[in-house]
């Protein structure tokens, strides 16, 4: 993403949040010199708006990045691991909610290791065994030593 596009988006964000500040509830008493809840955020947002404009005007590159299908395809191998990690993590969080920490962590560890491993000669047995041991150890350490019960999941 180019600096100029970031500057534009930042200025729009600051303006939007500044507008949103007018919807803050007012206290039932007169605030001193108008220094209500919106006072400080508005000061920050004015600064962000100005800096966003500076970045828009003085930033490098065009306003809109020039993406091509070929360029995206070429970049895909480099970002493959990142995309996989970013897609799997929300699934993992949903899994914790549904089936609990232990089972979702085992599945997550196995899938992530298989997805990130650079070669095909990985031992699936070792991956499973390591994932189960690691997940179980974490649950036990937090439960017995730290008195923290990790979520059991809504399905159980």
């Amino acid at each position: 993403m180019t600096d100029r596009l970031i500057g534009l988006l930042l200025a729009l964000f600051a303006a939007g949040m500044y507008y949103q500040s007018f919807f803050f509830k007012q206290p039932p008493f007169q605030t001193f010199q108008g220094m209500g809840a919106a006072f400080f955020p508005r000061g920050i947002l004015i600064g962000l708006f100005v800096l966003g404009l500076i970045l828009l005007i003085k930033g490098d590159g065009p306003l809109l990045p020039r993406w091509s299908l070929g360029g995206l395809r070429a970049a895909l191998p480099r970002y493959r691991g990142v995309i996989i990690s970013m897609l799997l993590f929300p699934v993992y969080i949903l899994g914790i909610t549904l089936i609990g920490f232990l089972y979702s962590t085992i599945i997550y560890m196995v899938v992530m290791q298989l997805a990130l491993y650079p070669r095909r000669d990985i031992s699936v047995l070792y991956v499973f065994a390591g994932s189960i041991a690691f997940s179980w150890a974490l649950v036990e350490v937090f439960r017995r030593l730290l008195n923290v019960v990790l979520p059991a999941g809504s399905l159980f």
Binding site: F24, P27, M35, F40, L48, M109, V148, L150
Partner: protein
């Protein structure tokens, strides 16, 4: 003050605190030696484990991680040529060439002993500078605190990264994110969009874990510089102690210079170990009698980097303990830990909590002793750990970040917040926005907001920010830091133009 020192030292020598420090040092060395993992990540990951401990024990663990991590980075720097942490970049300049010449043990020994001396000198600075600075801080009113924060943010923005605009944007975005939730004085909801979960605001630790751990891991996954697992024996890392101690004696001036530079850099907010080790290396090279030997496996080069980066953390603790202003991201995490334990960092901490304040300072030196013993004796094992592949580490670390976010408030929502800030951190890193200004803005916003409101409610005269001497001093320093930034940028541009002159078209 002597009584306070005795209380603190006695508390630091309690068995449960010593064990916590030991665990922290070992964890720190391991985190430090793995390329791509930062000391901040290590401190953030151990933080959830400290919730069940008392405040000093928790702080001792984190100080142990920082001391161990500052030194652990030299192991992969020397053996692999890849810095284990950003604070070990300069160690690769001479540590790796020395190891390549067949002296890996000597390189590792020099780095470890230099780390110890850097920590020891840093401890002296920490112990002598913190109490008087805290007393000075007791004179601060709300005007001074607000001006100090303005100075800290401009320093952060101008020192970190190459763009002042981006540094300021990062700092202000961090401050804006901290306004989400309830107004600290009026209790009015701000930017919660009627989500009950957002009323307390974003948890500081969740933000920190997401920004630093997640974004760093994604960069590592993208880079995939992990060495593949090698079943061959690890390199011979026997340390020749006689030779190493002779090298130390011949580098005594370098140790002192590097430690002073490191501690000085550490005191400045946000300029942490990643800046200190390179600055220290540069300064030692300039003052050395053998400047031409640097970069070719010279022992003073390793000494400079390692003594400098270990002293940096001691410097960062000075403003944290004395004023409640973090000197670097690790100190920022510790402030979060203190807040979780119901303690308010600031000038009063030294007088109202001497056990904690002086105990933390004592722990730093104790940790340094532990580090040098553990690292020298366990060097063979640590050398093997540099070969653990990423596809095993990354999922495990991501799981630990999820636990870290969850245990804070026992809410799944916090794991979603972690993921959100992980995406924010990765986006910032990819577009060359520094993370340190964001984090420090996030921490300092409540202090800034409360103090400016108090100042204006006490006396609405804005000129007081300039007429009160200490406040004026901070504002002038903030202005000068911006001026320095523009001056150094134009100087570097002029040097680049004179080095590569553009020939006129014929």
């Amino acid at each position: 003050m002597f009584e306070a020192w005795m209380i603190g030292l006695g508390a630091a020598l309690q068995p449960h605190v010593l064990v916590a420090t030991l665990i922290g040092v070992v964890a720190g060395i391991i985190v430090g030696l793995i390329p791509g993992f930062t000391i901040v990540m290590g401190v953030v990951l151990v933080l959830p484990f400290t919730f069940a401990m008392d405040a000093l024990q928790g702080i001792a663990t984190m100080i142990g991680v920082a001391v161990g991590g500052s030194s652990g980075g030299l192991i992969s720097a020397c053996l692999l040529g890849i810095p284990g942490t950003p604070s070990s970049v300069a160690t690769t300049f001479d540590g790796y060439p020395m190891a390549q010449k067949g002296e890996p043990g000597r390189a590792l020994g020099i780095g470890t002993i230099a780390s110890f001396f850097g920590s020891a000198i840093g401890f002296v600075i920490l112990a002598t500078a913190t109490p008087p600075l805290a007393e000075f801080g007791l004179q601060f009113g709300p005007w001074e605190f607000f001006s100090l924060i303005a100075f800290a943010l401009t320093i952060i923005a101008s020192l970190s990264g190459t763009s002042l605009t981006k540094g300021l944007i990062a700092g202000l975005m961090g401050m804006f994110m901290a306004t989400v939730g309830l107004d600290p004085m009026l209790g009015i909801e701000r930017y919660t969009f009627n989500w009950v979960e957002l009323q307390p605001g974003f948890a500081f630790l969740t933000v920190l874990i997401g920004l630093f751990a997640w974004s760093q891991l994604m960069k590592d996954v993208e880079r995939r510089e992990s060495p593949t697992y090698d079943h061959r024996a690890a390199p011979n890392v026997n340390i020749p102690y006689g030779r190493v101690f002779r090298d130390m004696w011949n580098s005594k001036i370098a140790i002192l210079v590097a430690s002073l530079v490191g501690a000085g850099v550490g005191i400045i907010p946000a300029a942490g170990g990643s800046v200190a080790n390179i600055l220290a290396y540069d300064q030692v090279r300039r003052t050395s009698r053998h400047p031409n030997q640097f970069g070719k496996g010279f022992h003073e080069g390793i000494v400079a980097s390692e003594a400098g980066n270990n002293a940096t953390f001691a410097g960062a603790l000075v403003p944290m303990l004395a004023l409640g202003i973090p000197g670097d991201a690790v100190a920022a995490v510790m402030i979060g830990a203190l807040l979780i334990h119901g303690l308010t960092p600031g000038p009063l901490l030294m007088t109202t909590q001497p056990l904690l304040a002086y105990g933390a300072i004592s722990t730093f030196l104790i940790g340094a002793f532990m580090m040098v013993i553990i690292q020298t004796q366990g060097m063979r094992l640590f050398a093997r750990l540099t070969l653990v592949p990423y596809h095993v580490l990354v999922p495990g670390i991501l799981v630990l970040t999820a636990i870290g976010a969850y245990v804070l408030n026992n809410r799944i929502f916090d794991i979603w917040v972690l993921f959100f800030f992980g995406l924010v951190g990765y986006f910032m890193a990819k577009n060359h926005f520094e993370l340190a200004p964001f984090v420090l803005g996030f921490i300092l916003e409540p202090i800034a907001e409360i103090n400016i409101k108090r100042a204006l409610q006490t006396d609405g005269n804005l000129l007081l920010f300039l007429t009160r001497p200490i406040s004026a001093l901070f504002l002038v320093m903030a202005f000068l830091s911006v001026v320095y930034y523009f001056w150094s940028t134009s100087r570097d541009a002029a040097r680049a133009r004179s080095a590569h002159p553009v020939e006129p078209e014929k």
